[in-house]
Subunit: 119 residues, 2 copies
């Protein structure tokens, strides 16, 4: 039985000790990191993030994003929900549309954990 990854609320707060650091990765931190990495580990979600990062205001709405990745709106909605659940995106309703916006610090934070050697 593959240990089911819990929702992020149950996981440790934002993980930051580098992977090989002095206080070795605790099991809870490993789970928290894994959840965040898994949210990132999908071509469609990476594509969505990259697209949003390239927008002037780093945001976009579902109906706008679905054509970009060439998937149905429900599917895109599903991906956006995952990205939001892990804090990689924020959502905001404005009128009829819902705008998703990148949280660059969240992406940065994950990147920092992977800094094993150099600066």
């Amino acid at each position: 039985m593959p240990k089911p990854l819990p929702a992020l609320e149950d996981a440790a707060p934002i993980c930051c000790a580098p992977l090989g650091g002095a206080p070795s990765l605790s099991p809870a931190d490993a789970v928290g990191l894994a959840i965040r990495l898994k949210a990132l580990a999908d071509p469609t979600r990476l594509h969505l993030l990259a697209y949003l990062l390239d927008q002037p205001d780093q945001e976009g709405c579902t109906c706008n994003l679905a054509p970009i990745v060439d998937l149905s709106e429900p599917t895109v909605s599903h991906h956006l929900k995952q990205l939001e659940a892990t804090g990689l995106l924020t959502k905001e309703r404005r009128g009829m549309s819902v705008y998703y916006r990148v949280v660059p610090e969240a992406i940065e934070a994950i990147g920092r954990v992977l800094h094993v050697n150099c600066c």
Copy 2:
């Protein structure tokens, strides 16, 4: 049908343009990055990597690692194989044992892609 992620050979060589960079993430790069991130996105594999990074020589053998993560040897072997397939570990047989060693540059490279804002 969830597009099956191909083996890494088919994917782009080591990915390095930051996610939000000028040449927006190509589909091939997205797949390559996703494969690597997915290899990382598991608590057990993170645990294994963290443990290996903390060893003086950054290496260990299967029979040594299985107790660390409290899983059967076949399962650990399976995880190690994935890490090796994505270039995060190298393996080397010495006598009866097989030693796996971390490739810190590979982890670094992934971390760099996630550097969205600062230096």
